[in-house]
């Protein structure tokens, strides 16, 4: 790889990361605003119009807060945990394509790395994300943290399984692990409905979405940080920017899951394109963002609507409902695909 291309790649990565972190910051604003409206409140209004500068104010506040390291923590591991959470969350984003291949100077603008094993890459990176949480809980020397970290990691690995199983149906239909190829397999229409995987794979989609919400530790599966019983779960003892890093990791994971759901089940950036060339180039990005935004809305909507599970219900649901259903879906799909191609 030549030096100019390397520099261009670096610049692209920095720009994408900046956009990503801005989106993450505004996802928090979006959530606060939306949950407030669901609960007949106003949400943030003071900082800027409609509280739009709130994320900025939060960032400055968190950065200048006192950086407390409680006594009795396990030094290095305590510091490593938030970094590990954030790094894995952001790294998983590097294989997500946001639009069709648009090469400028030999570099694809809308994706950092187009890997043949894109989907497996995301799964492997997210399987490393467990450590951030389990180590945070363990190293903090607090009972709440330990319980939160333990619960969270057991929950995450259980639902990782269900998520992994539910994705096999998509692979059967598209025959590739490359995210771009999976999206391209969803081009075109059946009559009037688009060829999105969600229609033949609606059971798989349901399993994936549920498992993904649980894996990102969001309501109604946010047992690890159930504030009424565990204070704040694994990040009870974290303050200042270290707390913010866990927070950012959680929202980045939400965003990754939304992107993944869009790519795998909702045709990615495919949508009607029309008009002049400029519009044609921008519209796929618009469709992609719109679909991702719908998923973020769904996340918040679920949070605003459903009560929290009990821990034993949560584990039972994962193992006794999602895993068998995903397995059944997989057998059924493969049977139909086999008959179809025979």
């Amino acid at each position: 790889m030549s030096l100019p291309i390397l520099i261009f790649t670096l610049a692209k990565i920095v720009v994408i990361l900046l956009v990503l972190l801005t989106v993450v910051a505004y996802a928090v604003w979006f959530e606060r605003k939306l949950v407030a409206r669901i609960q007949s409140r106003w949400g943030p209004t003071r900082v800027g119009p409609h509280g739009l500068l709130q994320p900025l104010a939060d960032a400055i506040k968190l950065l200048t807060k006192e950086d407390i390291t409680p006594s009795g923590v396990f030094g290095l591991v305590y510091l490593l945990a938030p970094a590990l959470s954030l790094i894995t969350a952001l790294l998983a984003f590097s294989v997500i394509p946001f639009g069709p291949v648009t090469e400028v100077g030999g570099v694809d603008l809308f994706q950092i790395a187009d890997l043949d094993i894109g989907l497996l890459f995301i799964l492997s990176i997210s399987s490393m994300g467990v450590y951030g949480i389990v180590l945070a809980g363990w190293s903090s020397n607090s009972k709440y943290s330990l319980l939160g970290g333990l619960r969270s990691s057991a929950q995450m690995i259980s639902y990782e399984l269900a998520a992994g199983l539910s994705l096999v149906g998509v692979l059967l239909l598209s025959g590739s692990l490359n995210l771009r190829e999976i999206v391209n397999a969803q081009t075109g229409v059946w009559g009037i409905i688009p060829r999105w995987n969600v229609f033949p794979q609606f059971i798989g989609f349901f399993c994936f979405l549920t498992a993904a919400i649980a894996e990102t530790n969001r309501l109604p599966f946010d047992l690890p940080e159930a504030e009424t019983e565990l204070v704040a779960g694994y990040h009870t003892e974290y303050s200042s920017m270290k707390f913010a890093m866990f927070f950012m990791a959680e929202y980045t994971n939400m965003l990754t899951v939304s992107c993944l759901a869009t790519l795998l089940f909702f045709g990615g950036w495919h949508g009607p394109t029309f008009g002049p060339a400029v519009l044609q180039a921008i519209l796929p990005l618009f469709w992609f963002s719109l679909k991702v935004l719908c998923f973020l809305f769904l996340y918040v909507w679920i949070r605003g609507t459903l009560p929290r599970f009990r821990y034993d219900q949560l584990m039972a649901f994962g193992w006794k409902v999602l895993v068998p259903v995903a397995l059944g879906n997989l057998v059924l799909t493969s049977f139909i695909v086999a008959l179809w191609s025979a």
Partner: protein
């Protein structure tokens, strides 16, 4: 550039492995082992075996090491207490290790000329290739794996339950 990457990841793997032995607290050792797994995955990746690299991370670094960390937490294992190492190991260990290393290096350098070194991307292990091998050529071993998993499930239950059940 490829040899450079190879040496970076190989050194990382060996470094983490040594750190694993030297560290006194089990959690640090476990973290080093995760580092070893990740470095090995990078080496597989460099050879061209993408799928194997991903599996290495998912199964070894992601699943098996979680179990290790759980066990360390479960037992609340503290720092290891150093025993006065046996005198035999103390005086003979290092020299024997060096002899072993030299022997290994000699054999390897005689067996393989420098030109026959594994090149980057020599083993294109695309997922589809592995699938074809696994589900057409090595069907029986694959089916036997399911029996192995079954036995392991039963074993896990037997190990973890109390006698009264």
């Amino acid at each position: 550039m490829y040899p450079l990457f190879f040496f970076v990841f190989a050194t990382a793997a060996v470094g983490f492995a040594i750190n694993l032995l030297v560290q006194r607290h089990p959690i640090h050792s476990a973290l080093s082992l995760i580092g070893v797994m990740a470095s090995l995955a990078s080496l597989y990746l460099m050879l061209g075996a993408e799928f194997i690299a991903a599996v290495q991370v998912i199964v070894y670094a992601g699943a098996i090491m979680v179990l290790f960390v759980f066990v360390i937490m479960l037992l609340n294992a503290g720092e290891e207490e150093r025993t006065d190492r046996s005198r035999l190991a103390k005086y003979l260990g290092m020299p024997l290790f060096l002899v072993f290393l030299v022997t290994l290096a000699t054999i390897l350098s005689r067996q393989f000329s420098p030109n026959s070194m594994v090149q980057f991307g020599d083993f294109p292990g695309h997922t589809a290739d592995i699938g074809r091998r696994l589900f057409q050529n090595f069907l029986l071993p694959f089916e036997v794996v399911s029996i192995l998993i079954l036995i392991a499930i039963v074993g896990a239950v037997v190990l973890a339950r109390k006698e009264t059940y």
